[in-house]
């Protein structure tokens, strides 16, 4: 094949196309102009979504990646454009989301001279990215892009940063496409020790009270079916982490609900009663475990993971099954002896019944008073036949929507778990609509988080992105207010918020909107939102001092949950 002499910027376009990129999110600026110039001629093949702030570009890329399983791509300029992506990169790192951030950089002759819009992006992002690399020569572009996509998407996925010096954008190279699926120093999927598979199966076959913890790793590994076969064969009850919620349908008979601080009572209590804890693709985050001193001390632990650094990091594993969980779950399932664990499964019922009676029913079916957050969430979920993609912001809106949304399809929850980034929801939802145009995308936000990336309404307007926005407005930074109420003597230090008229904001952006305060109107308002083509903004004025329950107080034991406060 004859090589063609092209610029580094043009090589970037062709390399992205070679990687199968169709959509990216970005914002032009001085140091990335040659790339945007090349992009103009590739508009028919590479769809570029102009966001309104670079942080929005990263979250949109994350939303795109989480909904589709493909790599999300951002294109930004140097300096402030690059530093604005930092929050999204850190968020993608801790939540294992595959994104590639391509940032302009000043020319290599200016590097280190404090040039205009120069920032040491590689230095800044090294600790918060899976890989961070500065492209200084045009001939490195095809290799660097191939490597970036391989690293971002393989093994435990994560963010990759390409810092693209301006001279390398304009200089020329002999272009040849590069495909890459091997890096000598990087073992993306560790070998599975056959003995670990046998020992895991032995422990499960002996267990009287096994409990499976389902993490996002199941979705990242496309192992949802394998997981179901695994838990069904030995009839093992399961709980899901926040990011793993849609890896197992909510209504599956063995799904006992969400784990963690605001999770469901039964799986949390049973964590400290089981005799075998089987973690699949989850990392024992402190929001799941509560204090480690009392976490599942009675149980043996099997940990399935693709990342060796997760084993024994927080919780000691008696058996670590390393590898791709699609393969390892299958291998262990083959060795399982069918079991029923009838009594053990039945023992969850009283806790589910208690939570249902004391927390869930009053939250979703109240008879008087202002709207509840959970009530709005469940009504939306039902109206969308529990098939929508849920995107959340961070805070009470996040916990309420995670708890009361129902999941029947995979890759249906997009939320900022590890970093807890307020402002994540709106741009992430934009990204999701481009990833899965055939699905309904609903984003729940609070009045705090919405205003952290409110400017992305401009992107929604311009793109007519069909985001169904639900604002749970309580005129408070609700989660902090709840903690102030519970642990700081109700001193509401800087948590009440004076809000703008959101309907006027929506109107300015030409987005159809509606405000609902009355319970009688709720269903109809949701119906209007879902049947309106394109974006819709629904403001639900909810109870101001609503609390997310149940709750494991911070630093408390996983099995001690407050059902009221």
């Amino acid at each position: 094949m004859s090589k063609e002499r092209i610029t580094g910027a043009e090589a970037l376009m062709r390399s992205l196309e070679h990687q199968g990129v169709k959509t990216m999110f970005g914002y032009p600026g001085g140091s990335i102009m040659p790339v945007f110039d090349a992009l103009y001629d590739h508009r028919d093949r590479l769809q570029h979504i102009l966001v309104r702030h670079e942080q929005g570009a990263t979250h949109a890329a994350q939303g795109y990646a989480r909904a589709s399983g493909k790599v999300g791509v951002c294109l930004v300029t140097s300096g402030p454009g690059a530093t604005n992506t930092v929050t999204g990169i850190a968020d993608a790192m801790i939540d294992s989301t595959p994104i590639v951030v391509i940032a302009g950089q000043v020319g290599t002759a200016f590097l280190g001279s404090d040039a205009f819009q120069e920032v040491d992006l590689v230095g800044i992002t090294q600790p918060i990215s899976k890989w961070s690399y500065q492209i200084r020569r045009a001939e490195d572009v095809p290799w660097a892009v191939a490597r970036a996509f391989y690293i971002a998407s393989s093994g435990r996925p994560g963010p990759v940063v390409l810092d693209f010096a301006k001279n390398a954008q304009v200089e020329t190279l002999d272009y040849e496409p590069v495909s890459l699926d091997f890096i000598r120093s990087y073992v993306s999927v560790p070998d599975t020790d056959k003995m670990s598979v046998i020992r895991a199966a032995e422990l499960i076959n002996k267990a009287q009270r096994p409990l499976v913890l389902v993490g996002q790793g199941v979705e990242l590994g496309n192992a949802q079916e394998e997981l179901q076969a695994f838990i069904e064969k030995a009839q093992m009850p399961a709980g899901c982490t926040l990011l793993g919620l849609s890896a197992l349908p909510t209504d599956h008979a063995l799904n006992m609900g969400m784990l963690g601080m605001h999770g469901n009572l039964a799986p949390n209590v049973k964590t400290n009663e089981c005799d075998l804890l089987i973690a699949v693709g989850m990392r024992f985050d402190d929001r799941v475990t509560g204090t480690l001193a009392t976490y599942a001390r009675q149980a043996k632990v099997i940990h399935f993971d693709i990342d060796a650094a997760e084993i024994n990091k927080n919780v000691h594993a008696d058996v670590a099954v390393m590898g791709d969980c699609k393969a390892t779950l299958r291998a262990v399932t083959e060795l399982l002896i069918p079991a029923t664990h009838k009594e053990w499964i039945e023992s969850f019922a009283p806790y589910r019944e208690e939570e249902n009676r004391k927390v869930i029913e009053p939250e979703i079916h109240p008879t008087a008073g202002p709207l509840n957050m959970g009530e709005v969430v469940r009504a939306v979920s039902e109206a969308a036949h529990h098939e929508a993609v849920l995107v959340t912001d961070v805070g009470q809106n996040q916990m309420m929507s995670a708890r009361y949304f129902k999941y029947s399809r995979n890759r249906s929850i997009i939320t900022s778990g590890g970093l807890g980034t307020m402002g994540f929801g709106l741009p992430a939802a934009v990204g999701a609509t481009f990833a899965v145009p055939d699905r309904t995308v609903c984003v729940f936000m609070g009045d705090g988080g919405l205003q952290m990336n409110l400017q992305e309404l401009g992107t929604i307007m311009e793109q007519k992105a069909p985001v169904k926005m639900i604002l749970l407005n309580n005129n408070f930074l609700g989660n902090v207010r709840q903690w102030q109420a519970m642990f700081f003597n109700r001193k509401y230090s800087f948590t009440p918020m004076t809000n703008p008229d959101y309907l006027k904001i929506a109107e300015a952006y030409e987005i159809p909107a509606r405000r609902v305060t009355d319970r009688a109107e709720l269903k109809e308002a949701i119906e209007e939102m879902l049947t309106t083509d394109g974006p819709f903004f629904l403001e639900a004025c909810v109870i101001e001092e609503g609390n997310v329950l149940p709750m494991t107080p911070p630093g408390g034991s996983v099995d001690v949950m407050l059902l009221e406060c």
Binding site: Q126, P127, F182, S185, V187, A308, K313
Partner: protein, 184 residues
């Protein structure tokens, strides 16, 4: 848990910026690096880091895994002192007038097998290699005689006592897998 001095040996590709990434793993866990030596290894294109740090075994295990997770790191292992041959070098700058006046100084230099590198009327430079303990002991004794003008210790370098070269095995295995994947 008891803290002991661990020696980490890390092999990496020769890529700019990796030192930062490796030291950041220690910083995040609030563990001080005691000494650090970076140089080319016996394998072409492969760099070797020898790092010592006081810490407990739980922490050092986690640190090693987090270092090994870096894309350009080939392997990382930790060792206790009985698993390695280790060496340091030290330089001592001594006052020549004191050296000439006090015979105990020369006696110490002979006792510790230090080597003279330079003598002039103002100062004399000595060089000593050996274990940390030996090097520090000589320094402390010289210090008591009031003749030390400057003192510097290098980082530790170390060889493993094991009969297996794990990094070579790793590279051979990776090479074989690469060829196998291309062959398919």
């Amino acid at each position: 848990m008891d803290k002991i001095l661990y020696t980490l040996i890390v092999y990496s590709e020769n890529i700019a910026g990796l030192l930062n990434q490796i030291t950041a793993v220690f910083t995040r866990r609030q563990i001080n690096i005691e000494s650090l030596n970076v140089s080319a290894s016996s394998i072409k294109g492969v760099h070797k880091y020898t790092i010592t740090a006081w810490c407990d075994e739980e922490s050092i295990k986690k640190i090693v895994r987090q270092i090994e997770k870096k894309i350009d790191v080939l392997q990382a292992h930790y060792f206790t002192d009985d698993e390695i041959f280790s060496h340091e070098i030290a330089l001592y700058k001594l006052s020549t007038p004191v050296l000439e006046k006090d015979p105990r100084v020369s006696a110490l230099i002979r006792k510790y097998n230090a080597r003279v590198v330079e003598v002039n009327p103002t100062y004399s430079a000595m060089e000593k290699d050996g274990t940390t303990e030996d090097i520090i002991a000589l320094h402390d004794e010289l210090q008591q005689l009031g003749c030390v003008l400057q003192f510097v210790r290098s980082g530790r370098i170390a060889l493993t006592k094991s009969c297996v070269e794990r990094v070579n095995e790793f590279l051979a295995d990776r090479e074989a897998r690469y060829l196998q994947s291309k062959g398919e």
